[in-house]
């Protein structure tokens, strides 16, 4: 079941605020990359962004970065790859928060995934590197890397049961974690120059899977519970390719991406090889986590998946119908801009009302189809109940009805035993009897 609602604590609110700002920053970075892609396709947008970029505000700098990056946008398939990667990460982060908004493992994972969505998106990072960072931007960029990296490490140390490894006494454990955190933060903030993003990527790209794999290896050895061991084993094997890819990268390229050359020059030359190696490596981790959650039915995933699937399909269907409607109208009436049907406010209002009215029946139908295809027990139970209800019309014999009820109940909810109490209503003070 989902968590029981309770009052949000101060910590919940603090997390919500911090996570909200962090996620907004991530979305801003991703949006900047998309703007750059848009500007590379449409000259007018490029020009508009340049004009906006002559200002000095935060959004002006976003616009200028996007406009500048428009000339060096990666090829289309790579852009798609970047944004599919980011979308999957953001989606899983949203699911995790939905499932366990108060669970710190889920929160850490969500933080890590949102960070990874931005950090490993080459298109948006290339746009970010177009301008020399202001001190505030440096803080944000380094902070996001460090936060995402550390959150990832700790999430993998805590997953899935929230108990930290190794199983040391709290004081020793806190000392270990605190020292590791301080060292990571200290090293990260000391980095400077054009190689800083690559160095951060390399550092956390190696650290996250290595620490995660080590933690899960520890769990395999020290967990007596068979399910716990299986979960740890799954994640361990999923993390291993990431560790391997990191090692292969180190062997092939050494620390060259982290070497500062041409320091002090504004040269947006992102380390493409580094991104293309670590991006798939990091894609494996959330996939492994998702596989683990699905395989072992952790955190009531089924219910959420069911809902998500139903709503996604229903929205997609209606969206598709709407798009089809627009296309047909376009074909019939000319261009969209020239079509009063599409442009007119009443048409928009009518379409919206139709959309809203149709949503519930469509959702119910989709739910039925999903249950029939993927949730067979629920579907069979429903069909059985419907058949029983229909059969009641023809059945006159009480003993026959009770017999059929017995069969239906055993089929649908599989009770240990069935008792039927009947109320005798033939006279005053009618009494119940056990059938």
């Amino acid at each position: 079941m989902f968590e029981r609602p309770r009052r949000a604590s101060g910590a919940d609110l603090a997390f919500a605020i911090a996570f909200g700002l962090y996620a907004l920053g991530g979305l801003l970075v991703l949006g900047q990359g998309l703007l750059a892609v848009g500007a590379s396709l449409w000259g007018d947008l490029h020009e508009l962004l340049h004009v906006q970029g002559l200002g000095t505000g935060l959004l002006d700098r976003v616009a200028l970065r996007a406009a500048d990056a428009a000339h060096s946008v990666p090829p289309g398939p790579q852009v798609v790859l970047d944004y599919v990667f980011s979308a999957v990460h953001l989606g899983i982060a949203a699911v995790l928060l939905k499932l366990r908004s108060r669970d710190w493992t889920a929160r850490l994972l969500a933080t890590a995934l949102v960070g990874a969505a931005g950090v490993f998106n080459l298109t948006s990072q290339a746009a970010l590197e177009q301008l020399t960072f202001t001190p505030l931007e440096t803080l944000g960029q380094v902070g996001a890397h460090v936060l995402a990296g550390l959150a990832y490490v700790y999430a993998l140390l805590l997953f899935p049961d929230g108990r930290p490894v190794p199983r040391w006494r709290p004081a020793a454990l806190i000392s270990l974690y605190l020292t590791a955190t301080l060292v990571a933060v200290f090293l990260s903030i000391r980095l400077e120059g054009p190689a800083r993003p690559a160095t951060l990527l390399l550092f956390f790209g190696l650290l996250v899977p290595a620490a995660g794999a080590a933690a899960q290896a520890y769990r395999i050895r020290n967990t007596e519970n068979a399910t716990g061991q299986a979960q740890a084993r799954l994640l361990f094997w999923a993390l291993l390719p990431s560790v391997g890819l990191g090692i292969v990268f180190l062997v092939r390229h050494g620390l060259s991406p982290a070497t500062n050359v041409l320091v002090g020059r504004r040269l947006p030359e992102p380390p493409v090889a580094l991104y293309r190696i670590f991006q798939p490596a990091f894609a494996l981790i959330p996939l492994a986590l998702s596989a683990g959650i699905l395989r072992y039915r952790l955190w009531d995933i089924e219910r959420l998946l069911n809902r998500t699937t139903v709503y996604a399909i229903a929205t997609g269907l209606l969206g598709g119908f709407y798009a089809g409607f627009v296309v047909v109208a376009q074909l019939v009436l000319g261009s969209v801009a020239a079509s009063p049907l599409i442009d007119s406010k009443p048409a928009v209002a009518v379409t919206t009302v139709l959309f809203l009215t149709a949503f519930r029946p469509v959702r119910d139908q989709v739910q039925k189809v999903i249950d029939k295809r993927f949730n067979r027990r629920r579907y069979d139970a429903q069909v059985t109940m419907e058949k029983f209800a229909e059969g009641l019309r023809d059945e006159m014999d009480l003993a026959g009805i009770i017999g059929r009820l017995d069969i239906v109940l055993k089929e649908v909810i599989q009770p240990r035993h069935v008792s039927v109490w009947l109320r005798d209503v033939r006279g005053p003070g009618g009494r119940s009897r056990l059938a």
Binding site: F2, P5, A16, I17, G20, L54
Partner: protein, 424 residues
Amino acid sequence: MPRGALSLRTVLLGGGTVLIFLSTGCGSGSEEPVTVRVDYDHDEFATQFIRFFPDRVQVHPGGTVVFKQDWTGEAHTVTFGTEVNEALSVTMPLIEQWGDVPEDEIPPGVLEAYLAAECSLLVMYGCEEQPAEEQPTSEQPPASEATAEEETDEINQTIAQPCLIEEGPIPDDGLPCPNQQLGPFDGTEAYYNSGFLGFEAETANVFELQLSDSIQPGEYNFFCSVHGSFQSGTMEVVASDQPILSTDEVNIQTRQQLNEMVEPFRAVYERAKKGNFVYAGESYTGNFSGLVDEGVEGMLNEFIPKTLAVKVGAPVTWLMFGYHSISFDVPEYFPIYERGEDGTVRANKGVYLAAGGAPEVPESVSTEPIVVDGGTYDGSAFWSSGVLGSEAYVEYTLRFATPGTYRVACLIHPRMVGTVVVTG
């Protein structure tokens, strides 16, 4: 729904609103400052423009004009004053009349009149050949070394440091101004100079001109003391009750002027990428290190092609247009000048001089092509040709002793970077 989730949604929406509010500068009731770009580094290819964008701005008394420099490698100043107005009233009509005419077709006296007006403002480039107090003697070092020394040490402190002179004329002793405190500009000052705009960081290359409330409506000229009248503009002070262009309108104007300047370079760049460049009626083929265009006050600061493949020991030649260096294993970027703790501005010798075994820098002031054999770079350490230039071009040839991938860079222009891949 859990309350935490609701809070998160609220925070996301609220945070977004706050961000948009802050980024658009809402809540500020005062008039927005007008921004003028000094120079410009284009996004598609590295450039420098000896221009202000836009070159004409409107402002109200008491308003602020922000001069924001794109650091392209060039130093600039923003200089106002009645002396500037007077000198530009001579030079600008001459530029308009004779600016597009070849120098040898300009009638006698025109150039002299131009230089007399311009050099009265101590302009750094173009006035070097004016009669100096100290004439060269036989004890002085050879021309090439003298040029380097001249470049490195002799920066006029009157223009390089902030300077306020209430009444003219402007002293030509080259010393720092006694009064460097620039108060609000009221238009009556003889000389009101920002000094070299700072190179500390991207956000620091800014000079804010605060106008006095008492400044009279009218036109006030400004120019760059480094580059002279070609880099000049006009500030129109409009009475407070009259409308002026909005920030958006100014930005659109800026962008239009930038595009006009960039278009000729785009054509030059595309052609050069195919290995061909036409300048002053001559056609050139090969590798290029910086390009210019006759119609543009600026330079295209690129190595073209960006990546060169060459065999060990084989010569590679760059045709250099403008003033650049060809340098390898370069240190952290440093600008062409440095400002001492006492405010003294000195040229950075390291930029101009040859290093790592490269031949000495030849005489730069030449209308003839300069041909230099740079020898062989062994790939082991910092190596620099020094800053080379000619009014024609420089043909620079170099060989590589060791296979490897080398980043080649110009020490003046930060975005002028290329790669040489040397194979055995």
